[in-house]
Symmetry: C2
């Protein structure tokens, strides 16, 4: 390597100062380190109009998984807790559920059985439970539940269990001309009521699983009612489908935490040009929950191998984050 | 009524001048008249933070039908012409189509038969024709076709058959903080390649009918391929469903031209607060095509009755528009 003159170094240093200053003000809950540096370098590259990596603002699409990536999913997906409450309330009207494996697993909080069954039978049962409701009534039932429910460990409303560093990341990307989307296995209705306040993501940028709804006139008024059928599961290989249907552009940045996000990250990484692919690794037993390959909820196994093989960013919650939750002292 | 002092009138007049001046610069292809005035008054009402009708920018959702509302749909929906070319090319591989009613109607340009059959059998046949293609290949086939195809009457590329006054309306709404969405019976893939250039509407704001796509690995690369199944028809009662699934907010303004837009306008009108509901009436046989209640394409019958009963705006292309197309002298 040739030694540069001190003048060149000085110039480089002076040029770097404002960038570093800006970057310091951003992402304050992230420790200095490889993950943070690579995020900041990526954003600089795609937003610098003189860079070969420049991407026009309209194409700066970033997709985020929700459960386990933007907020906690332990000890059980929040929507499962909501569903369980809904199903318990509906059970007297559905004696046929008594022998339903998914219902039994839910009632027993049997995570192993739930993981084995997958989301589909649970979603199907739920689709039956709330079918006939108008979408307005269903929205209200979710909002009411979110107001009253508390996380068993933290005794906080679930909407406070969002990760502070990820909120900062969303804000940082938005300030740099990105359009942030949620792409989640959860249902759109369950995220829309609070995603804008928590993440700055409006309802039209929430992609998720969808129950069928039908248009009808009710007392002379046009309404949409929920039908007893799930018609799209936005998880695993469904995520790239949801992105295609809803966004219609290949993301340049994707953020996940489990094997259910693998295909979304693969599709993002497969595009031409610079890409950011990141997994949140739950390795902080003290501030949150430590889990990966053996977990029934948010299992991270194949995606972790692929991340290592392809040098995707793996964020250690323990060492990369100063804070996990906003309510921490 | 009390007479106001001349000072009050003068003040009111002075205040009004800049607004009128702005409005004049906008919508230049619209004649002065009831339709134009009501549009401008609506936009002033919902954007004036002191007005009781004020709507926050994030909730200023406007939805536009495409065929017959933003561009021409005569003598045949443009996508039908594309489909016909696609089906002709695929026909040798599908001898079973010989006796298919939809194929025969398409090949004969039999609009009466097509109208009677509805979009579904045509979409289904098409779904078979292009299944197995990756979404990238399909996108390319559409772009290639659009580059080469010409409208039989105007001998122009179809993308020039967009209505100039509606382009101005889209721009006017956007400048006033609205988010414009297309909500069309056509398929999303057919609109996305050109909607941004023609209407300023990016791919993620195009809502339409959808063929199923599937994620798979092909030569080690993740791709989406088209499956032989249509899984959502965004027309008539499907439009409010598409809006709910994709946008998640009730629009405050809706623009259509046919009975296929009726439910979208009903749902928009049913919201609380000020609403703008508008139908484009094709009454200009000279510059375009005159049709309504008896037409097989873009039939406007029930929605016209409802518009009259509920005082929705009905735009006369003949008298409300100075120009229909941008290429007119």
């Amino acid at each position: 390597m040739r030694r540069a003159s001190s003048g060149v170094w000085l110039a480089a240093l002076l040029c770097a100062i404002p960038l570093v200053a800006v970057a310091q003000a951003e992402l304050p809950s992230w420790n200095q380190g490889d993950a943070r540096s690579r995020i900041v370098e990526f954003v600089r590259g795609v937003t610098d109009s003189k860079s070969k990596d420049f991407v026009a603002p309209g194409d700066r699409i970033a997709v985020f998984d929700n459960d386990g990536t933007l907020w906690s999913e332990q000890p059980l997906y929040v929507q499962f807790v909501f569903m369980l409450d809904q199903l318990k309330a509906a059970a007297p009207k559905h004696p046929e559920w008594k022998d339903n494996a998914a219902f039994k697993a839910l009632a027993a909080h049997d995570k192993a059985a739930l993981a084995k069954l997958g989301q589909k039978p649970v979603l199907e049962m739920l689709a039956v439970a709330n079918s006939g409701m108008t979408v307005g009534e269903y929205d209200k039932s979710i909002r009411d539940w979110l107001t009253n429910a508390r996380h068993p460990k933290y005794q906080k409303p679930y909407t406070e269990l969002v990760y502070k560093p990820m909120q900062e990341l969303l804000e940082y990307l938005k300030a740099n001309g990105f359009s942030n989307f949620i792409v989640s296995g959860g249902s759109v209705e369950f995220m829309r009521p609070w995603a804008e306040a928590a993440y700055g993501i409006p309802p039209e940028r929430v992609v998720g699983s969808q129950q069928e709804v039908r248009f009808e006139m009710k007392d002379g008024k046009p309404v949409l009612t929920r039908a007893p059928k799930f018609d799209f599961v936005d998880d695993g290989p469904g995520k790239p489908v949801g992105i295609y249907r809803h966004i219609g552009k290949r993301p340049i940045a994707a953020f996940g935490n489990s094997d259910g996000d693998l295909q979304m990250l693969q599709v993002t990484a497969a595009g031409e040009g610079r890409r950011l692919t990141l997994l949140v690794h739950h390795d902080d037993a003290q501030r949150e929950t430590a889990y990966d390959r053996q977990s029934h909820i948010g299992k991270l196994d194949k995606a972790l191998d692929e991340a290592k093989a392809k040098q995707w960013i793996v964020v250690s919650m323990k060492s990369d984050w100063k804070k996990v939750f906003g309510f921490e002292k």
